[in-house]
C-alpha cells in the first residue's frame, strides 16, 4: 500500500463528486491516474457512496461558511433541501475546489442555480432572486472610487451601491421569500442600498427619492449642484424633508463623500 497515493485519491474524492462516478464507471482509469494497484482500487470502491457524498457536502458547506452563504441563501431557499444537496454535488463536480475558493465561485454558483430555475413555470420571476444576490455579491467587491479623481465634489462612496428590484425591499433583505410571496408581489419595486463594511454587506431599504438622489451622484457634484438635484427630487416625489436635510443625512452616514478639494 502506498499512503501517498491513497491520500491523494481520498482528498480528490472529498472535493470532486464527479470522481466518485468515474471510480464506479472506469475504475482502471482512476487507478492508473492515481497510481493505485487493482486491490487498492477495490478498497476505494468499497467506501460508501452516500457517506462520501455527505462528507463532500460537509466540506463544501463548511468552506462556504456564514459569510459566503449570505450571498446565496435566498436563491438556495428556492429549492427543496434534497434538491439543494444534489445541486451542490453537481456544481462541485463541475467546479473542483482544491482549496476554499468560494469567494470567487459565488457568481458561478448563482448562475448555475439560476439556470436550474429555467424549467420552472415561474422562471422569469424566480430568476430575479439570483440576480439580486449577484448584485449583493458585487457590493462586497472592492470598488474603484466612483467618479473622476480630477473632478472635485460630492460623490457616492465606493463602498455603497443602490439598486431597484421588482420585489418589496424588506423581504429581499431578510430573505423571507416563500413562493407564494414571490408570485404575488413580483412587480412591486423595492429600492435597496448595500454598504460594504469591510467584512459584510449591510443592506438597507431606501425610498424612491433617496434612490434617485444616489443614482445621480455617481459623478461628483458640487454642493450647489447636489442641493439643486435634491430639491428637484424632493418636489417631484413630494417629500416633507428639505433638500438640505436629505443631503446632510447622506453625508453624515458617509454614503456621499467629498473628493478633491470641495467647499462645504
Amino acid at each position: 500500500m502506498s499512503l501517498a497515493q491513497i491520500q491523494s485519491l481520498v482528498l480528490h474524492l472529498t472535493v470532486n463528486p464527479g470522481l466518485l462516478d468515474e471510480l464506479e464507471q472506469q475504475p482502471e482509469l482512476v487507478g492508473q491516474r492515481f497510481g493505485l494497484t487493482t486491490e487498492e482500487v477495490g478498497f476505494a470502491r468499497q467506501m460508501s457512496r452516500p457517506v462520501l457524498h455527505s462528507f463532500q457536502l460537509q466540506i463544501a458547506n463548511k468552506r462556504m461558511g456564514t459569510r459566503h452563504r449570505e450571498y446565496v441563501k435566498r436563491t438556495t431557499s428556492l429549492f427543496e433541501p434534497k434538491q439543494r444537496a444534489q445541486l451542490m454535488l453537481e456544481f462541485l463536480s463541475k467546479h473542483e475546489m482544491r482549496t476554499n475558493t468560494w469567494g470567487q465561485k459565488i457568481p458561478d454558483y448563482l448562475d448555475f442555480l439560476s439556470e436550474k430555475l429555467t424549467d420552472s413555470p415561474y422562471a422569469a420571476i424566480l430568476q430575479e432572486i439570483p440576480a439580486f444576490e449577484k448584485w449583493l455579491y458585487t457590493c462586497s467587491l472592492q470598488a474603484e472610487p466612483t467618479g473622476s479623481s480630477e473632478t472635485a465634489g460630492y460623490v457616492l462612496s465606493a463602498t455603497v451601491q443602490v439598486h431597484a428590484f421588482p420585489f418589496p425591499a424588506e423581504e429581499l433583505i431578510t430573505g423571507n421569500l416563500p413562493m407564494e410571496f414571490l408570485v404575488q408581489r413580483h412587480g412591486e419595486t423595492g429600492y435597496v442600498l448595500g454598504m460594504w463594511t469591510g467584512t459584510q454587506v449591510d443592506l438597507f431599504e431606501i425610498d424612491n427619492s433617496y434612490y434617485e438622489l444616489m443614482t445621480r451622484c455617481k459623478e461628483p457634484l458640487s454642493m450647489e449642484e447636489l442641493l439643486a438635484v435634491a430639491e428637484e427630487i424632493r418636489v417631484r416625489f413630494q417629500k416633507d424633508r428639505t433638500a438640505q436635510e436629505m443631503v446632510q443625512e447622506l453625508l453624515e452616514m458617509a454614503i456621499l463623500i467629498p473628493i478633491g478639494e470641495v467647499t462645504a
Binding site: 499512503l3 491513497i6 482528498l11 472529498t14 462528507f55 466540506i59
Partner: protein
C-alpha cells in the same frame, strides 16, 4: 501545568475574563494566524491560568510534512503563552494542492503509524514541549486496515511517545456510528497516555450524529468520562462549545457537570 476543568477559548468570551477566571482552571486556545490576535485574546489570562494550544491545520498524518510557516507560527504561539502542551488531530486533511477543513481518518496501518509518528516527534522537538494527539470523529475509514481504531491510536502514542487528547464525544459518536464497544476502546488505550479530555454536546442531522459542539453533554458521554477519570492518569478536561453560545455564561451548566465529575474523581482537587 494545565489540570482541572478548562474550556476552549472563544471570541464570545471577550470582556468576561473575570467570569472565566472564576470558573475555569485552564484555557485551551485554538491556534490563530497572527501573534497579535493571540495577545489580544489572551492578555487577561496569561500568568493567571495555564494555557494549552489546540492546532487545527498541521495535518500531521499527511505524507508530506507540515508547512514550515505553520510550524513556526505554532511555536511562536506556544512560546508566547508558555503552553503546557500542544494538541493536534490524529488525521490528515492535505495532499499536494488540496486542503480541506475537515479531518480525515488515516488508514489504520503501519505505514500511517510510521509517518504520523515521525511528524509528531519532529513537532515535539521543534516545540520543546509535549504534544498530544486527538482522536477524531469520522464517517469513513480506508477499508484496508491492519488495526482497530483503538489499537492504531495506541501504537501511534507509543511510537511517537506522546499523549492522547481523548475526545469523549468523538468516541461516543464513532462507537455508535461504526458499532464498536467504547469500553473495549478505552481499555486498549494506555491509561498513562490520556492527558486531556474533550467534551461537547452533539446533534443528529438526517439520522447522522454530528459533533456540533452544542451545549448539553450527553449522559452517555459523561458516563464514559467517569470511567476515564477513574481508570486513567487524565487530570484535565475541556468543554468545547461552538454553537448556540452568545457568551461564556452559556457554558456554566456544562462546566458545573464537569466540575462535579472532576471533584469526584480528581486526583488533586484545585481550589478556586
Amino acid at each position: 501545568m494545565a489540570r482541572g476543568v478548562g474550556v476552549g477559548f472563544r471570541p464570545e468570551f471577550a470582556g468576561q475574563s473575570e467570569q472565566v477566571l472564576k470558573h475555569v482552571d485552564f484555557l485551551e486556545y485554538n491556534q490563530r494566524r497572527s501573534l497579535e490576535m493571540v495577545r489580544q485574546d489572551l492578555t487577561p489570562y496569561l500568568g493567571q491560568i495555564p494555557v494549552v494550544i489546540h492546532s487545527l491545520n498541521l495535518s500531521l498524518g499527511s505524507v508530506q510534512p507540515p508547512p514550515e510557516h505553520r510550524l513556526e507560527a505554532i511555536k511562536r504561539t506556544a512560546d508566547l503563552v508558555d503552553a503546557s502542551w500542544v494538541s493536534e488531530h490524529l488525521s490528515y486533511c492535505r495532499h499536494d494542492d488540496i486542503e480541506v477543513d475537515n479531518f480525515i481518518a488515516l488508514p489504520y496501518t503501519d505505514e500511517s503509524i510510521e509517518i504520523v509518528s515521525r511528524h509528531i516527534i519532529n513537532l515535539k522537538n521543534l516545540l520543546g514541549r509535549p504534544v498530544i494527539m486527538e482522536n477524531i470523529t469520522h464517517s469513513f475509514v480506508w477499508p484496508d486496515k491492519q488495526y482497530s481504531e483503538a489499537e492504531f491510536i495506541k501504537r501511534v502514542l507509543e511510537k511517537a511517545d506522546c499523549g492522547l487528547l481523548l475526545d469523549v464525544t468523538n468516541l461516543y459518536l464513532n462507537s455508535t456510528t461504526h458499532g464498536y464497544d467504547p469500553y473495549e476502546f478505552l481499555q486498549t488505550i494506555p491509561a498513562d497516555r490520556v492527558v486531556q479530555l474533550h467534551l461537547a454536546g452533539h446533534s443528529e442531522v438526517d439520522g447522522q450524529m454530528v459533533d456540533s459542539h452544542v451545549g448539553g453533554i450527553d449522559a452517555t458521554v459523561l458516563g464514559y468520562t467517569e470511567w476515564i477519570l477513574k481508570h486513567t492518569a487524565c487530570d484535565a478536561m475541556t468543554i468545547e462549545r461552538d454553537s448556540e453560545m452568545s457568551s461564556f455564561d452559556d457554558l456554566l451548566d456544562d462546566l458545573q457537570l464537569c466540575r462535579e465529575l472532576y471533584t469526584k474523581y480528581g486526583k488533586s482537587p484545585i481550589s478556586k
